[in-house]
């Protein structure tokens, strides 16, 4: 890619044989390493922009510092959601999956052009959607997309926003095809082998993604794009909401799966141990494939137009979806404990001291896991159907997902970057102590911000609002005061932003570091309980895909039918707001 990278590669080949060994990823698969670098670059730029908007919002809605109009708050909020929850997470996922699939199958993708095609498609989608959101900040440009991450119709965005989203999703589909082709190529050479674990994780996750993105693809391509272009009338709001949440819950597992992949396959190594159970890791990913999608209605517990029975079914499915995460907690912690015991760790809890806490990659992932345990609890409350009345659309909900996607995922990705970036750049990490400080700072910042958000939610403070208070009434906190909660949110948000800046600087300095990375010879250790101890049926991807489709049909066909039966595809009386284009039909008539 660049001359400095080539010089690093040359160091490995000529001057210093041990610098970049022949078996290191970057030397074996230079093209894939470049793909990973490009994906990470997109991810980190999105992280920078989304994070900046995040701190502006945290200070604005708590009334600490105001640099924008309250009306522009929602433009920044849209950008914050889309840049962080779509662009950052999914580009990072693409990088991790490209690395993991190649590494575990021991072969690059069949056709580099095809690989660049999906990178290019995702990039084009990002630029269109991201650009149309940011254009909302510039009065001179008549393009905006102030519709937030959920883009509920009949709020309307510029067509470019929807087209960009569609392109982005198509890019991820192509990426999945690339990884499946890589797998089939491997399968041709290894007809009787078990699928390597990392590749298994990539493939099951992508199957889940194909199934779940059908919802958003239909919503955007069939309904929203023709509507925003003025070709078709406004779709039934409840129908497009339901299609969105068909995708909107599985997408959270799409963010999470690369983090799980790192926890299962890299974290044990970092701790000095081995994966406790390969069979259970496979079971967990199969469960996510089966159960991630037929649960989306739990985001619509308080929606009219959906019978309580459908909500109950979604609730039970969601509760059983806790199972793979609870199993993950055991398997991952046991793998780390395996490392600690070999390090001389003793006792029921004393082993925790025998772990490499000075390693930012290890500590970052562990703190992310700890926060996920807390976020798991608030998620259980969200999932609890009738208790959802207490917290629905209050600031409790962003409090919850800043623990999950904002920490379990984002902090794991940052920690993973400290380990993975040297492997795809060939450059040594600029500073481990700074990295350690950064991950701990994120943890502290998130503790302040998220705890206060949860408590604010219990007081009834809504999410997604620019103003801290209303003229007609005040909120009452159970413990402490509302103003102290606001200060904690603002303080936590500032710590998170500082942590983010330090992370980006550390990575940028790593990319410019002329010192070659060390330790690249190493491979990931095998599991204690290997795949041969699990039934062969776990690797039957077709079977699991078919069962997943059947479960989705069972969970969604009746609710969708009843919505369409009640309100139709195009309900009378729905009009766009704001209206970006005059409906062509109305103009013609």
């Amino acid at each position: 890619m660049s001359t400095p990278t080539e010089s690093i590669l040359n160091i490995g080949r000529t001057d210093d044989e041990t610098a970049l060994p022949a078996e290191s990823f970057i030397v074996k698969y230079p093209t894939v390493a470049r793909v990973v670098r490009v994906c990470f670059a997109y991810a980190f730029v999105a992280l920078a922009v989304g994070g900046l908007f995040g701190v502006i919002q945290a200070l604005h809605r708590t009334n600490v510092i105001r640099v924008i109009d309250s009306a522009d708050y929602y433009t920044l909020l849209t950008a914050h959601g889309v840049f962080l929850a779509i662009v950052f997470t999914i580009f990072f996922l693409a990088g991790v999956f490209a690395w993991a699939n190649t590494r575990s199958l021991e072969r690059p993708p069949l056709n580099p052009r095809f690989t660049w095609l999906w990178v290019g498609t995702m990039s084009a989608g990002t630029l269109l959607s991201g650009g149309s959101i940011l254009a909302g900040l510039v009065a001179e440009i008549d393009v905006s997309a102030d519709v937030l991450f959920t883009f509920y119709a009949p709020l309307q965005a510029h067509p470019l926003f929807y087209i960009g989203l569609a392109l982005f999703v198509v890019g991820t589909w192509l990426a999945g095809i690339d990884w499946f082709r890589q797998y089939l190529d491997w399968r041709a050479d290894n007809p009787d082998e078990r699928i390597p674990l990392q590749s298994f994780m990539v493939l099951t996750t992508m199957l889940m993604w194909y199934l779940s993105t059908l919802g958003v693809a239909i919503e955007v391509v069939v309904f929203l794009i023709p509507w925003s272009l003025g070709l078709m009338p406004a779709p039934t709001p409840l129908l497009t909401r339901t299609l969105f949440w068909f995708f909107g819950h599985p997408v959270v597992y799409f963010w999470l799966m690369p983090a799980y992949l790192m926890w299962y396959t890299v974290l044990p190594k970092l701790s000095g141990g081995r994966l406790f159970s390969d069979p259970l890791a496979r079971v967990v990913f199969v469960l996510f494939l089966l159960l991630s999608t037929p649960v989306g209605i739990h985001h619509q517990y308080l929606d009219p137009g959906i019978a309580e029975g459908f909500k109950f079914i979604a609730m039970t499915n969601t509760m059983f979806l806790l199972l793979p995460s609870l199993l993950t907690a055991f398997t991952v912690v046991a793998s780390v404990e395996h490392g600690a015991r070999q390090n001389g760790g003793e006792g029921y809890f004393g082993w925790l001291t025998a772990l490499p806490w000075r390693d930012p990659a290890f500590t970052g992932m562990m703190l992310a896991g700890l926060m996920f345990a807390a976020g798991g609890f608030s998620g259980m409350v969200n999932a609890g159907m009738n208790i959802n009345y207490l917290v629905h659309n209050t600031i409790w909900v962003p409090g919850h997902f800043h623990l999950t996607v904002g920490t379990a995922v984002a902090l794991t990705f940052m920690a993973a970057a400290y380990w993975l970036v040297p492997r795809v750049t060939g450059r040594a990490l600029y500073s481990r102590p700074i990295g350690l400080f950064q991950v701990v700072l994120w943890f502290i910042g998130m503790t302040f911000m998220s705890a206060a958000m949860h408590r604010g939610g219990l007081a009834g403070i809504p999410r997604r609002t620019a103003e801290p208070e209303y003229s007609k009434f005040t909120f009452e906190a159970v413990v402490g005061t509302i103003s102290s909660l606001r200060l904690q949110i603002a303080f936590g948000g500032v710590l998170l932003f500082v942590s983010l800046v330090i992370f980006l600087a550390n990575i940028a300095l790593t990319a410019a570091n002329n010192e070659p990375a060390t330790g690249l010879k190493t491979d990931l250790p095998p599991a204690l309980s290997g795949p041969e101890q699990s039934p062969q049926v776990l690797d039957e991807l077709k079977l699991w895909a078919i069962i997943a489709i059947v479960l989705v049909i069972l969970a969604y066909s009746l609710p969708l039918w009843s919505i369409i039966n009640g309100a139709g595809f195009y309900q009378d009386g729905i009009t766009a707001s704001p209206q970006v284009v005059q409906p062509v039909l109305e103009v013609l008539i």
């Binding site: 308080l302 059983f320 207490l390 809504p462």
Partner: protein, 188 residues
């Protein structure tokens, strides 16, 4: 398949947790009588609310001894009627719909909370046992002035609470006032 005994134990504990959660929720529905907002409210024409027999005149009606119905219209960026006045020791069924985009209807500090989706009616029955004043928050983003969208529910002493013969306006002046405001915003 090889699974360590401790992990089997954890698997059982996890299943017990899941079953426990579901049981609690079933208790909430059956024992405590919490009902989810559902499809009973039916559909309406969002831009034809002025022709609707109830939503054409948002307000509170008496339908039985201590039983009331409150028809509420949410629109950018107000609720009507505002305030919603009901007597204490009453059972109130809210019918909430939207004239434009998706809104929220959250009686702050209570469990009365629902999405308001244009074309659909959110029906919620709530008991108000004591006099109180609650804020009503739109808790779903609905446009640039979303943060200004709030209302009130005022639970009055039954003695101070009156409806006229038509059963339409509560303490007449307040409701008439908000109706005018609502119509004004609707047309602008």
């Amino acid at each position: 398949m090889h699974v360590h005994n401790y992990e089997k134990l954890w698997l059982l504990a996890s299943l017990a947790l899941i079953v426990g959660f579901i049981s609690t929720i079933v208790y909430g529905a059956v024992g405590a009588g919490v009902v989810m907002v559902n499809d009973e409210g039916g559909q309406v024409n969002a831009s034809g609310l002025s022709e609707h027999p109830e939503f054409n005149d948002p307000g509170v009606r008496k339908v039985g001894p201590n039983e009331y119905e409150a028809y509420v219209v949410a629109q950018q960026f107000a609720f009507s009627p505002d305030p919603i006045e009901v007597p204490a020791n009453s059972t109130v069924t809210f019918y909430v719909t939207s004239r434009d985009v998706v809104h929220g209807f959250e009686v702050a500090g209570t469990n009365a909370n629902a999405m308001v989706v244009p074309g659909e009616v959110s029906k919620m029955t709530v008991e108000f046992n004591e006099t109180d004043e609650y804020g009503v928050v739109c808790n779903e983003y609905c446009g640039q002035a979303h943060h200004d969208m709030a209302g009130e529910v005022i639970v009055k002493e039954p003695g101070n609470f009156t409806l006229d013969d038509a059963g339409e306006s509560t303490t007449a002046q307040a409701t008439n006032g908000t109706d005018e405001t609502a119509n004004g915003t609707g047309e602008s």
